[in-house]
C-alpha cells in the first residue's frame, strides 16, 4: 500500500529514472574514452559466454568460405599456374642476386666489425572468431587468450604485415584493436634507405579501410608507393613490420604538414588467420640456402641472370 501512495505522490519517477540512466551513460562514455573508467570483469565474462558460440559459427563461416574459394581456385588453376611459373622464374633470378648481395653484405660487416642481428619472434597462431560491424571503431576477437600466453599489448600480425595489438586478453579469447581503429597509433618510418622519414599511422574515420600517416613535414622525402614499416619507437610494436604502402599524399589542413593515405599490407576485408607475437629476441641470422626446385619446373637462375645482364648491357650499348 505504501508503495502505491509513494507512486501517486511522484508520478514522474519513471521519467526521472530514465533521465538518470541517460545522463550517467553519457558521463560513462566520456570517462571511459579518457581512460578514467574501465569496464570491470563483466567484459571478460561476456567474452567467455560468447566464445563457444562465436567459435562454432565462425567455423561454419570458414567452411563456407573454404568451399567457395576452392571451387574458384579449381576453375582458375590453369591460368594461375602459367602466371605462377613465370613469377617463379623471375623470383629465382632475384633470389640469386639477393644471396650474392647478402654474402657481400656479410663480408663488409665483418670487415667493419658490425654484429649482425635480426629479430626473431615467438608466435601463436590464432583464428578470427568475431568482428565488430559497428562503424566507429575497428576491433576483432581472436580465439587465443591468457591460457595460450597471450597478454595485453602483444602485437598481432599476418605474413603480409601488421594487424594491430591486443587491448584485452580474456581466458580463451582476446580483443585486438586493428591499426584502422581511430584510437590506434603506430610509430612508423619509410622503408626506403634514402628517406627513413618517421611518422605516426592512425586510423581514419573518413575512410575506414585506409589509415593515415600523419605528422610528416611538408618538405620530407615521402613519395607515393613508399613502403611504410614500424619504427620500433613507442615500445609496443617491434621494428621492421610492414604496415602498408603510401597510395596518395595530401596537405594537412594546417598547411605545415602533410598526410599520407596508406594502403594496408594486410587485407582487412579477408582477415581469417592471424599470429600473435608473444616474445621477440635478437639472434644471428640463419645462412640463406637456395630453396628446392619443384620437379618439372626446374630452371637455371644463374644462366638466366647472366643472359638478362648481357641483354641489358647490349641495350645500354645501343
Amino acid at each position: 500500500m505504501s508503495s502505491r501512495v509513494r507512486k501517486d505522490k511522484n508520478p514522474h519517477r519513471k521519467t526521472w529514472a530514465v533521465l538518470f540512466v541517460i545522463v550517467s551513460l553519457f558521463c560513462i562514455i566520456f570517462f571511459a574514452a579518457k581512460g578514467r573508467f574501465q569496464a570491470p570483469a563483466n567484459s571478460q565474462a561476456v567474452a567467455l559466454v560468447l566464445s563457444p558460440f562465436q567459435q562454432a559459427v565462425s567455423w561454419i563461416g570458414g567452411q563456407l568460405d573454404y568451399v567457395t574459394s576452392t571451387v574458384w581456385d579449381i576453375a582458375t588453376a590453369h591460368e594461375q599456374n602459367k602466371l605462377l611459373r613465370n613469377e617463379v622464374e623471375q623470383l629465382r633470378i632475384q633470389n640469386l642476386e639477393t644471396s650474392e648481395a647478402m654474402a657481400e653484405n656479410e663480408r663488409l660487416r665483418t670487415l667493419l666489425g658490425y654484429r649482425q642481428m635480426t629479430t626473431q619472434f615467438d608466435m601463436v597462431a590464432a583464428r578470427v572468431i568475431g568482428r565488430e560491424s559497428a562503424t566507429w571503431s575497428r576491433m576483432i576477437v581472436i580465439n587465443r587468450g591468457q591460457k595460450d600466453g597471450v597478454a595485453v599489448d602483444m602485437v598481432v600480425v599476418t605474413s603480409e604485415g601488421l594487424v594491430g595489438h591486443i587491448v584485452e586478453a580474456g581466458w580463451n579469447t582476446s580483443k585486438v584493436q586493428l591499426i584502422l581503429d581511430p584510437r590506434s597509433s603506430v610509430g612508423t618510418i619509410v622503408q626506403r634507405a634514402e628517406s627513413r622519414v618517421a611518422g605516426i599511422v592512425q586510423g581514419d574515420m573518413n575512410n575506414p579501410m585506409m589509415p593515415q600517416m600523419v605528422n610528416i613535414a611538408k618538405n620530407a622525402d615521402v613519395v607515393e608507393d613508399d613502403v611504410i614499416v614500424t619504427s620500433g619507437f613507442g615500445g609496443i610494436y617491434p621494428k621492421g613490420i610492414v604496415v602498408g604502402r603510401i597510395s596518395s599524399i595530401e596537405n594537412d589542413a594546417g598547411g605545415l604538414l602533410k598526410i599520407g593515405l596508406l594502403e594496408t599490407a594486410v587485407d582487412f576485408q579477408k582477415l581469417e588467420d592471424v599470429m600473435v607475437i608473444t616474445a621477440s629476441r635478437e639472434a644471428p641470422p640463419e645462412p640463406i640456402k637456395p630453396p628446392v626446385q619443384t620437379l618439372g619446373t626446374e630452371t637455371d637462375p644463374a644462366a638466366q641472370a647472366a643472359e638478362a645482364k648481357a641483354a641489358a648491357a647490349g641495350e645500354s650499348q645501343k
Partner: protein, 166 residues
C-alpha cells in the same frame, strides 16, 4: 527455460551471427546491425519500457563483447528504444510495413547520435565523406535484414506472451 532465458539466448545467437557470420558479407567492414533492428522491433512490439531496456542491453552487450568506445551504443540504442516504443500502442502488431521502414529512420538516428558523440569525444571527420562510406552501405544492409529480424522477434514475442497468458 524461463522467458528471460529464452530471450537472452535469442539475443546472444543474433549477436553471434552478426559478429561471426555476417562479417563475411560486410562491405569495407560495415555490415548489418542486427542489434539495432531487434531494438526497434522489440520497441514496436512491447512498448517504451521494454524497448529502452532491450536497446540498453543489446548496446552494452556489443560494447563488452568487442571493446569499442564504452557506452556509446547503449546510449544511442536506449534513446532509440524509448522513442520507437512510444508508437507501440498506435500500430497493429501484425503490421510489418511500419517497423521495417522505421528501422531505416532508426539507423539514420543512430548514426547521427554516434557521430555527435564522436565529435564531442574530439574525433574530427568529414561528415559528407563519412556518410557516403558508412551510412549508405549500412542503410542497404538494414533494409535487407529488417524484415527477417522483425519476423523472428514477432514470432518469439508471440510465443512468449502466449505462455504468459496460460
Amino acid at each position: 527455460m524461463n522467458k528471460f532465458g529464452k530471450l537472452a539466448l535469442f539475443v546472444i545467437m543474433l549477436y553471434v551471427v552478426q559478429s561471426s557470420l555476417l562479417t563475411l558479407i560486410a562491405y569495407h567492414g560495415i555490415g548489418p546491425d542486427l542489434m539495432l533492428l531487434l531494438t526497434v522491433s522489440y520497441a514496436f512490439l512491447r512498448g517504451m519500457r521494454y524497448g529502452g531496456l532491450m536497446g540498453f542491453a543489446t548496446g552494452l552487450l556489443q560494447e563488452l563483447a568487442t571493446g569499442t568506445f564504452l557506452g556509446i551504443h547503449a546510449f544511442s540504442q536506449l534513446l532509440i528504444g524509448l522513442f520507437f516504443g512510444r508508437f507501440s500502442d498506435r500500430v497493429f502488431k501484425e503490421q510489418f510495413f511500419l517497423p521495417v521502414f522505421a528501422s531505416v529512420a532508426a539507423i539514420v538516428a543512430n548514426y547521427f547520435i554516434l557521430a555527435l558523440l564522436m565529435v564531442l569525444l574530439g574525433y574530427r571527420f568529414n561528415l559528407v565523406g563519412n556518410m557516403e562510406s558508412m551510412l549508405v552501405p549500412m542503410l542497404i544492409y538494414q533494409l535487407a535484414f529488417a524484415y527477417p529480424v522483425h519476423r523472428f522477434a514477432y514470432a518469439l514475442d508471440k510465443k512468449l506472451s502466449k505462455k504468459e497468458k496460460h
